[in-house]
Subunit: 124 residues, 4 copies
């Protein structure tokens, strides 16, 4: 397969609700960056998180092996620091090889599940 993807991606929308109506991992309110590395080289990705009223945080270092997908939960990020809940944020991904990024949120604050998803903004 030829190289597919772009090296820089942005997701302006970010918000992790602190509430969930369920306790199992699959149905807890969460926000995900689905990263596909369809190429033959591992991807080293630097993630920066932007906020409304304070300095950006990062880089978070992420590796996506060759020919693998990583569905990265923002909820799980800890280094350099966790993403605060109930807070507006945005994110930029910079990779050394082309990748594809899709943004998904599962919101279970109320008793049912709500979903959103969009392919992120790409450059490079």
């Amino acid at each position: 397969m030829n190289v597919i993807g772009r090296k820089r991606w942005a997701i302006p929308e970010g918000y992790i609700p602190s509430e969930s109506s369920f306790s199992d991992r699959a149905l807890i309110s969460h926000e995900t960056a689905c990263i596909l590395n369809a190429n033959d080289h591992d991807a080293h990705v630097a993630l920066t998180i932007f906020f409304a009223d304070r300095e950006a945080v990062g880089p978070y270092r992420i590796e996506v092996p060759a020919r693998r997908t990583l569905h990265l939960r923002f909820n799980d990020l800890n280094d350099p620091q966790p993403i605060p809940r109930d807070t507006d944020y945005a994110s930029v991904f910079e990779s050394d090889v082309p990748i594809i990024v899709q943004h998904t949120r599962l919101d279970s604050r109320r008793a049912e599940v709500a979903l959103l998803s969009t392919v992120a903004y790409a450059e490079g």
Copy 2:
């Protein structure tokens, strides 16, 4: 970080339901333009609102500081005039520096929450 983004963005879908099943701000029916300015210069954005059967309104003047995100609620716009509820509209953003725009709606007319989101249409 190198400059990332585009200067002109459009969101054809716009509709703020007047009904909500909840009264706290996070769960009231609302429509948002999530704007990311990942660059080192403040962004000055002119927003124009288009309707089905009357002249467009604007510009609404919005500033997004350097390296910040603004999750702008259309519900909160007042100058030059509020966005009418239960009315089809569309929007165009023109910025002096590159930004990225994502459109999200939370609809809580019924007892549960419904979400939609998409990266907006970009040019320039």
Copy 3:
């Protein structure tokens, strides 16, 4: 405002549920193509509907005046023929001036509302 948009748009996903839990127009299950014509000339759009197992139907003729938006419900199309319910379809829009198209579905088959939306695929 300078001309913004593209002349050809495609929406591969199309499906109008025949069921609805509500009877008012805003909450009936429906599928919408939100069209923004931000330019100074009226847009004349030819819409073609594609199916899984029969010949395509069209053109449907749509006009979007200069500096207006039209949130076109596929449910309302009648000429040359209505869109069948509970049937997979897809659509292509060809306009004489640049427009922007966003696809939205409201699904109210069950007691709550589900939403999807995406900016369509653009060319030209």
Copy 4:
């Protein structure tokens, strides 16, 4: 109609919930790639599925006739092997003629329906 579309498409997000609150086909939890072939030649598509922690699987061979749409359910794929449920995956489509691909999921794990949709990432 002139040729419209691209030859390579990617969907980083993939996840088929094993649970459903309904038993009729339309409301079972499912994931779909809506493919539009608006051109005058049949499309032969090779689909590859990527995982988080094992080698990619494929190609799955799909044909979309000229001027037809195929709303392909990942749930229905069997050759070379079914897509596992409750498992993160991603997909790449390679076609011999230009097509357009949109990704949709219907999630009915809880009593109501949740939807997501986005036009996939395109190249070529």
